[in-house]
């Protein structure tokens, strides 16, 4: 462990930013419970309100549209289970459309609701190239469809899904309903966890989206569900009336307030553009060097629109967990599939949908970067990865 380790797993979590650490420490000096009516409570409540306003500005939504949760998983569960539970009784089984590329915190609650007979679920597999076709989403819509949820950036491959076109499809269906007097609600949600640092999310015309602070240098334990007014949710944690009654429990004040510098940084359009360019160049450099050293490797989604910070590489005739462990022992941290399913055996639904040739199917590794990753680290990582591959 003498040599400095090279961390290429920022899609799993990214190190805490120093301004976030400072904000955390400042927050630890506050003592009030934000629900308390005394001055101490008011002070903390006011700080949380300022934070909520800041997030609302970042996402171009309203103050009351922002719900703080314990993470993206809770946010996704609240959106999905909360919406279905809050639906007014109707004669039809509610229908939900999603993709096979979703994070388990989306796919598993949906499958559970379907298994329990509470929804009818359509899971759309991507077309070749790992992209869910908007036309497939449009074709799946039915009069009783109440929710469409499609990930913005697939966490395993970094492939960007055509949310703009899906927005159009959903808007079309909504228009059809309003013309025919059908008042069945239809909402579009996206899990934007992997997009937070690289997208101008204010411009995304979805009804609800999910973010997670620790993917961008924030602390673990902070998720955000932004949900447009009119999207009724039933609380999934019952108790006190925190978060407008949507999420009971004393707020994780220190962790939440620590994120204030983060949303400020992510709102800076010029900085975002520079970040996109720098990290994209890193990704392309890694892939180019890997192909030069190991001409048989396959870059997943190379021709598809991709997020700057994720590179999914299929290595032939090897086992990804073995390659990952060998790289780990050489000092390079990378990932086999998303961290949330690490330890699970076999090939993921998303990986399966790529129809990789058999000799590549078991050798899928993910490398992910941030703007603190240096070119020198990346160059060294390639050397070590090649060494790990050759064993």
């Amino acid at each position: 462990m003498s040599r400095k380790r090279i961390y290429l797993d920022h899609a799993a979590t990214s190190p805490l930013r120093s301004d976030v650490r400072s904000a955390w420490l400042a927050a630890t000096k506050l003592c009030g419970n934000p629900s308390s009516l005394h001055r101490e409570g008011q002070t903390v409540r006011a700080s949380l309100d300022r934070l909520r306003q800041q997030v609302a500005s970042f996402l171009a939504c309203r103050f009351q549209d922002v719900t703080f949760t314990s993470g993206a998983t809770e946010a996704n569960n609240l959106l999905i289970s909360g919406q279905i539970a809050a639906l007014p009784a109707s004669g039809h089984l509610p229908h939900v459309v999603t993709s096979t590329l979703e994070h388990p915190s989306v796919s598993r609650p949906l499958r559970a609701l379907a298994a329990e007979g509470n929804i009818d679920l359509t899971e759309i597999a991507p077309q070749g190239g790992g992209i869910v076709a908007a036309a497939d989403v449009a074709a799946a819509l039915r009069p009783e469809t109440v929710l469409v949820t499609v990930v913005l950036v697939c966490s395993e491959f970094g492939i960007v899904q055509p949310l703009g076109e899906i927005v159009a499809a959903v808007t079309g269906e909504r228009d059809r309903r309003s013309k025919s007097g059908d008042r069945t609600p239809l909402f579009l949600h996206t899990d934007a966890v992997q997009a937070g640092q690289y997208w101008n999310l204010a411009k995304l015309a979805v009804d609800a989206l999910t973010l997670s602070a620790h993917k961008y240098g924030g602390p673990k334990g902070v998720g955000i569900l932004a949900h447009k007014h009119g999207l009724s949710l039933a609380p999934q944690l019952r108790g006190g009336s925190q978060e407008q009654g949507l999420r009971a429990g004393t707020e994780a004040v220190e962790a939440l307030l620590a994120t204030a510098p983060l949303w400020r940084a992510l709102s800076d359009n010029a900085a975002r553009q520079a970040r996109v360019e720098y990290v994209t160049a890193l990704r392309d450099s890694l892939e180019m060097q890997l192909i030069q050293a190991l001409p048989e490797v396959m870059i997943i989604g190379q021709t598809a629109p991709r997020a700057p910070h994720i590179s999914a590489v299929a290595f032939p005739d090897t086992s990804a967990p073995v390659l990952q462990a060998r790289a780990d022992m050489l000092g390079v941290a990378c990932s086999v599939g998303p961290a949330c399913s690490a330890g699970a055996a076999g090939i993921s639904a998303a990986a399966a949908s790529l129809n990789l040739p058999a000799r590549y199917a078991g050798g899928l590794c993910r490398f992910s970067f941030c703007e603190q990753t240096s070119q020198a680290e990346l160059d060294r990582a390639v050397v070590l990865l090649v060494e790990a591959y050759h064993g």
Partner: protein, 370 residues
Amino acid sequence: MAEQKAGERVGAPSSVRKQTKGERVAVALSGGVDSSVVLAMLQEQGYDAVAFYMKNWTAAIDAQGFCPWVEESASARTVADQLDVPFYVLDFEDCYREQVTRPFFAAYEAGLTPNPDVLCNQFVKFAAFWQRVQQYGCTKMATGHYARIGRYGGQLALLKGVDPGKDQSYFLWAMPLSVLSQLLLPLGGLKKTEVRHLAERYGLPTATRPDSQGICFIGPISVAQFLRDNLPSHPGPIVNEQGLDIGRHDGLAFATIGQRRTVGLHGQTEPLYVAKKQCATNTLTVAPAGHPSLFSRRFQVADISKLTEHWPDTADVAVRYHAGMTRATLAEDGAGLTVSLAEPVRAVTPGQSAVFYDGDVLLGGGVIQL
């Protein structure tokens, strides 16, 4: 005499040599004290130690949903983290189910008393695991077994552990011979008390952990209870040594050879013991203590594994773990091996392992036949 001769052939346990330093060794870390000490010892000796937890069985083992692997793997991870050693969980569930659990149930249903630890060592730990860890660049593997590696007739051989109360060589008779040259068994020369002291000296969090008991998929509950929970009852008659029907049993799988049986019929007051399980008629034969049917002088062994090139005509045999040694004459024929004991041994149990020794040297073994 034979033991003295064996002693001459036995070399000193292999010691770690300078040139092995830096060599990558896979340590099968179970979360217990023994393998933790192995990891710390090898690290101290300069090996590039990598820890692996073998995930063999993850289902709950009781009605309360107790899953031992959750705590065991966490304990293993804690140890590896404290020693700053890479740690990976390897999944052998399919292999374990096919090679250990399924044969375990099948054997019980066939009236045998199988030895799953032997199967685990034969097919999982010293086979599938060893194959797998070589992909991680490991050129040696180490386990926390109380057994030693030495020499017999000039060849590498497995020897009993020096702690007579902990010697685990009995369970290793079926392991593939080819592993021996890459295997490290650092605990074989130590007593359990010394291992506990080492754990304390290394400051390992497992120093005070109780010894793991039993079988992965059974855990601390009794095998009898486990079988009752997992196999259907299959009632049948209990007969005495004259063939007289004296009671009912609820399944041959739940009876163990040599075990005391309470039989409620015919005013039977004398303690009776299981002498025989007859699957064809689903009959359990019992006999009073000391009855000749409870003792064997001769039995057949199959599925023989030889860990030494040379087998003497006579050897010491152990018919179960921690049973004493009995001198025996070994006669091989086409079907297997006939073991003729120098004195009668009680409760020789079909399905268990008969393990042969020349002094401290593990010659090999086989499965006792019906």
